[in-house]
Amino acid sequence: MLQAATEPRAEAADDVREAHLAAFRFMLRARLLDDKFAVLYRTGKIHGGVFLGRGQEALSAALGVSLKKTDVFAPLIRDAAGRMAFGEPIVDAVRTYLGSALGPMRGRDGNVHRGNPRTGYLPMISHLGAMVSVVNGVLFARRLKNISGTVGAACLGDGATSTGAFHEALNQAAVEKLPLVLVVADNQFAYSTPTSRQFACESLADKGVGYGVASHSVDATDLTACLKIVGTAVAQARAGHGPQLVVAKLLRLCGHGEHDDANYIVPALKNSPLGRDCLKVAEQFLLRQKWAEAATIAAWRREATREIEEAVAQVQREPAPDPYVENWSAISSEHLNETHEQNGR
């Protein structure tokens, strides 16, 4: 009896450690990949903007490792860690930023606008809040198809909670009792707009109450808290308890994009507990727990760096999209394309 009682606890402890290690490695890889994108941006190798997830890796990775491959995931711009955890190969991220013809978006869309809808990995459009109801639609369709047990996660920032799309979609998920996990990264700024100009409620978590949606709050600088709270929200949704709102507090440790020096973020905020770097906090935690040694983490770092460098080198040799062989058709029913002379086809 004693044996039976202790074993599950030991297993649970193992699971917690493994989840931390897995999430930490995705955080580390995401940070290194973001650093590389920043370098490529500054050296003029990337067309358009670069948007980093610095400071959001714990939240993003925690969500990614909490999802199954059969779930649905609509990440936002600062979710490199979650994307990797959900299964996106590094090379596809690089291909999309560099516009490779071999990438998932084939140079038609770029940077953080990438995904693979067939596998439940939805590519965001730029209009904030718009992906949430699309996740609802996939979940709704699965219900009609009698597929149960899948969860759909959508990620937003504090700014997106001011959109009509957010309101409509969260209410819709509540009405339909869909297994939606809506993760809001309250990173204190929507581009340069502080939260004081974005909303007037005490916490964004209060918004869940108004929709009849379970709400969770979490300190997103703390990986342990993220794994616990996000994991709970995902489990609750999976168990049929309806949509779950997770509001995570953190500070964006970079500009909105790499074009933005973020001089509007005052030092007092950077030096506050919110300004902690979740990656460093997590690393220190793993060392303190003796779940990983410094040498092991250094090896992970080297391995990830090599993998990223190899991916960039590979993609730089790949073909760019060719406007002369591009199929300029916005619809799949090619027989219904316009045929007159001026449509450019």
């Binding site: 998932p104 978006m105 609802n136 369709a141 198809k145 799309a165 819709q172 916005a330 001026q342």
Partner: protein, 323 residues
């Protein structure tokens, strides 16, 4: 005596056909389930097809977003906008989400968005709009404008089968105005215009309810010795330029009539194409006739004068014919 089938009956029957034929089809919209829709276009469908017809919250953005997600998952949703005017609330999801999905990802987006559109007396500025132009402007969308009971039926069935997002513009005035004896068993495919009336003196290009006005105007001109050809575009995107051009080649004269506002638009597009690609076919400058450039008025006196009337179409035709 044969049973009479109205335009709206045809729309209901087409949805019943799609639901019966394809298990991937479902209906989602405001008041569409037990109530049967604001215009009764989904009457009894919830009863006949349990678990396939769903009321939505008043959330046009989320309605279309849900449809896109369901399409990604392999289903074929039909979304009813209660009035075309309200589709502007879902505009972002239609033009940025649905219309870009295939281009961006290679995954098709087979959704049908039904827009009860066009003016009826008393509708006023927010229950009368014609939005085919604005949707046709965006790449990635098919925009259909059936003018007959037969087309309302066959084109809606085809719309649901098309692998791309379709904006299905059904005219509210035609709902109970048009009647047919039976539903068609065969039809022209989407993308082909139809010669609604043969004539030798002038081509009038029209679509949706304006086809009926154009036909009446053509009849009015018969006693004066004119034979007017009427081309029903059926679909404004794709636009069947070939059929229009062939008709203009026969008549040498073109009048294009639309119920939507004059700036840009379907009529401007038709004239631009004929002018640039068929200039030599024209004997006189092509003309167009649209609604006035104001919101759609409420009072019947103002409303009737806002849109092109049979009289206005006939007058515009006479002017061209006599030039």
């Amino acid at each position: 005596m044969a049973a009479e089938i109205t335009y709206i009956d045809a729309i209901r029957e087409a949805q019943a056909h799609a639901l019966r034929d394809d298990p991937r089809v479902f209906l989602y919209g405001q008041d569409v389930a037990a109530f049967g829709g604001a215009f009764k276009a989904t009457k009894n469908l919830a009863k006949e097809f349990p678990g396939r017809v769903f009321d939505s919250p008043i959330s046009e953005d989320a309605m279309v977003g849900l449809a896109v997600g369901a399409a990604i998952e392999g289903l074929r949703p039909i979304i009813e906008m209660q009035f075309a005017d309200f589709s502007t609330v879902g505009f972002n999801q239609i033009v940025n989400q649905a219309a870009t999905l295939f281009w961006r990802t290679g995954v098709p987006c087979p959704i049908t968005v039904r827009l009860p559109f066009g003016g009826t007396s008393g509708g006023g500025p927010f229950h009368s709009q014609s939005l085919e132009t604005i949707y046709a402007h965006y790449p990635g969308l098919i925009v259909l404008t059936p003018a007959t009971v037969e087309d309302a039926y066959s084109m809606l069935i085809e719309a649901v089968a098309i692998d791309d997002p379709v904006i299905f513009c059904e005219h509210k005035f035609l709902y109970r105005h048009l009647k047919a004896e039976k539903l068609p068993t065969e039809a022209l495919p989407v993308g082909k215009a139809r010669i609604a009336r043969v004539g030798r003196d002038l081509t009038i290009v029209a679509y949706s309810a304006m086809v009926q006005d154009a036909l009446e105007a053509a009849n009015e001109l018969v006693p004066e010795g004119w034979e007017v050809e009427v081309v029903d575009l059926r679909s404004v995107k794709p636009l069947d330029t070939d059929t229009v051009m062939a008709s203009v080649a026969r008549t040498g004269k073109l009048l294009c009539v639309g119920e939507s506002w004059p700036w840009g638009g379907v009529t401007a597009e038709v004239i631009a194409r004929v002018a640039s690609e068929g200039y030599g076919l024209l004997d006189v400058p092509p003309q167009r006739l649209n609604a006035k450039d104001t919101p759609v008025p409420y009072h019947p006196n103002l409303w009737a004068a806002h849109r092109p009337t049979v009289r206005a179409v006939a007058a515009a035709a006479r002017k061209i014919l006599r030039s």
